[in-house]
Amino acid sequence: MNVAAITPPVRSRANIRVDLQVIADMVTSGARVLDVGCGDGALLDWLVHNKDVDGRGIEWSQAGVNACVRQGLSVIQGDAETDLHDYPSDAFDYVILSQTLQATFDPKTVLGEVVRIGRRAIVSFPNFGVWHIRLSLLTRGKMPVTDSLDSAWYETPNIHLCTIADFVELCEDLGIVIERSLVLDRWGRPRYLKATGFLANLFGEQGLFVVSKRR
């Protein structure tokens, strides 16, 4: 058999994408973590090896799942819409929903589920309220294609885009407490703005929230 195929890919565990690093820094060491939509497992792998977390993942794409399991990560092929309701309440310290919420069919239910099964949820999403998207829509009258939203409207997986203001409102409706919030710039770095305010919604490329269910 092909020996090369069984050698786990080597990846530097020191460097992950900036926005993922911001999320990773919010997770406490040794926590139980579920990464919903974990992709190729970069964040999960970093957390397992640098913060000693008990990490699990759900990923929709089979290629992503296989890549994760090949690295020794505990990841299942599944769907945020259908698979979250199996988990018992408070099964995890953190449920991470990184750049996933806007790609779900039913973000409201998914958000409700992540704060049920996690004591805290870390949610990030592209902010559709950022000034250049508003400007683009106003001046060109077409759906914007940007760094973080890089597909045309007819092929984008992002079917439920929202603004930071929309997200804050949904949290209020669902009785979800925003414990911490950040806005990120186009490079994924935190910006020093009050993250739920008018300016955040205007200048933030991404919103990043630590939320929990009101108990």
């Binding site: 699990r56 399991v69 299942i76």
Partner: protein, 413 residues
């Protein structure tokens, strides 16, 4: 103590062992065909060490035959138990002593392979009710001096696992690094993880389910009826009559074999191609290659398998139903488990299709268990778990390496 042990070729050796101790003999074992000596190990359990079966019978004496590859490390933390499927046996990675064919998992088990025998000690036990050295219906019932035949008690997956546990206890292994198996082997893996969670560090149920579906029971029933319809079966007493229901058993194998493949794989392999002829014969010869192939599968199977064993083992699979045994929900079987699971299914497997594995994943999630799940793309059907599937090996290696890291097992040099 061991005087009532089955009349096997090695029975004279056992009398030298202290009373109450199971006899482990690393010398040959007498199989179905008594003239062939099987390699491997056997454990004989005396009347005082009976096995309590699910059907209520207390089985004693009985024998369990097993094979090992690789060495146990000092703290016995590197043992992998391989559970074989319906018609498999303990000869996982060596030339089969009866058929002369390669081991059934030779791509998987060996030095430097996924189940690396330089690193792990791989153990495989012939299932109870089988016919490669473990006690089964073809053996002599010591109470009557005649072959058990249909008077052999009905065996369950749970009974098979209890018999395997005796071997693991005998070897002094407190916790198995991994229990792995496909198909019926996967059922045993699930049973191990449910019944003895503290003794299973990781579990890999491949292409299996928590219960046998109606369709699968139906296929098994076709096989059993084929055997029973063979006049040579003699109501199960063919050994006493000096006969052998080879036709019935071959038909059972042919029917089952179709379920292990897939339509695309059969088409790719055979299509409608004719066997050694230019045109159809307008008769019932094996005109088509696929017919010839199935007949070959059937006729070679009967050389190594006992018809009554086939009845008993298929029954064990039919009876398997984890939800029924755990208050109606599979999750109850796994609550609080610390075992690390990796489930594998294959896209073209219609005998144990992916939704069966996904249902196990859902139950494990509900128990907040540590679980990985991969579906491997292949057109080879259920049999894919026995074949050279690089993606399958790669994911399994990754899973095992991750487990070894958590277990603190040394990586090979």
């Amino acid at each position: 103590m061991h005087g009532a042990a089955p009349l096997r070729i090695m029975s004279n050796l056992k009398s030298a062992l202290p009373a109450g101790m199971p006899a482990s003999v690393t010398a040959p074992v007498a199989p179905v065909a008594p003239q062939i000596l099987l390699p491997g190990h056997r454990l004989d359990f005396s009347a005082s060490a009976s096995l309590q079966l699910d059907c209520g019978v207390s089985l004693a004496p009985f024998t369990v035959a097993y094979q090992t590859y690789g060495e146990l490390n000092a703290d016995k933390s590197n043992a992998i138990l391989v559970c074989h499927a319906l018609t498999g046996d303990q000869f996982v990675a060596e030339t089969h002593p009866v058929t002369g064919k390669p081991g059934w998992w030779e791509h998987m088990v060996g030095p430097g392979l996924t189940l690396d025998t330089d690193r792990y000690c791989v153990i495989c036990v012939n299932v109870l009710g089988g016919c490669m050295g473990s006690t089964g219906p073809a053996d002599i019932n010591p109470a009557t001096g005649e072959p058990w035949g249909l008077s052999f008690p009905v065996i369950t997956i749970g009974d098979m696992v209890r018999a395997q546990l005796r071997v693991i206890d005998h070897l002094g292994i407190e916790s198995l690094f991994c229990v792995i198996g496909g198909s019926m082997g996967g059922m045993q893996v699930l049973q191990w993880a449910a019944a003895y969670p503290e003794r299973v560090f990781s579990a890999v149920p491949i292409a299996c389910a928590t219960r046998h579906s109606a369709q699968n029971i139906a296929f098994h029933e076709v096989g059993r009826q084929a055997i029973m319809a063979d006049p040579e079966w003699c109501n199960g007493e063919y050994q006493r009559a000096g006969r052998k229901p080879v036709r019935g058993l071959a038909v059972a194998r042919m029917a089952a074999h179709i379920t292990y493949l897939s339509e695309p794989a059969l088409h790719r392999k055979f299509g409608r191609q004719l066997q050694d002829r230019e045109q159809v014969s307008y008769g019932f010869d094996a005109d088509f290659q696929v017919e010839s192939y199935l007949r070959h599968q059937g006729s070679t199977f009967v050389d190594r398998f006992d018809a009554n064993s086939y009845l008993y083992i298929t029954r064990a699979m039919d009876y398997f139903d984890m939800a029924a045994e755990h208050d109606g929900a599979v999750v109850n079987a796994f609550r609080g488990t610390k075992t690390r699971f990796c489930l594998v299914s294959f896209t073209s497997d219609w005998l144990f299709p992916t939704p069966e594995s996904r249902a196990i994943v859902h139950a494990l999630n509900a128990a907040a268990a540590n679980v990985s799940f991969v579906e491997i793309s292949t057109d080879k059907g259920h049999d894919a778990f026995l074949l050279d599937e690089p993606e399958f090996f790669a994911t399994l290696s990754g899973f095992l390496n991750g487990c070894a890291e958590h277990r603190g097992l040394r990586t090979p040099l």
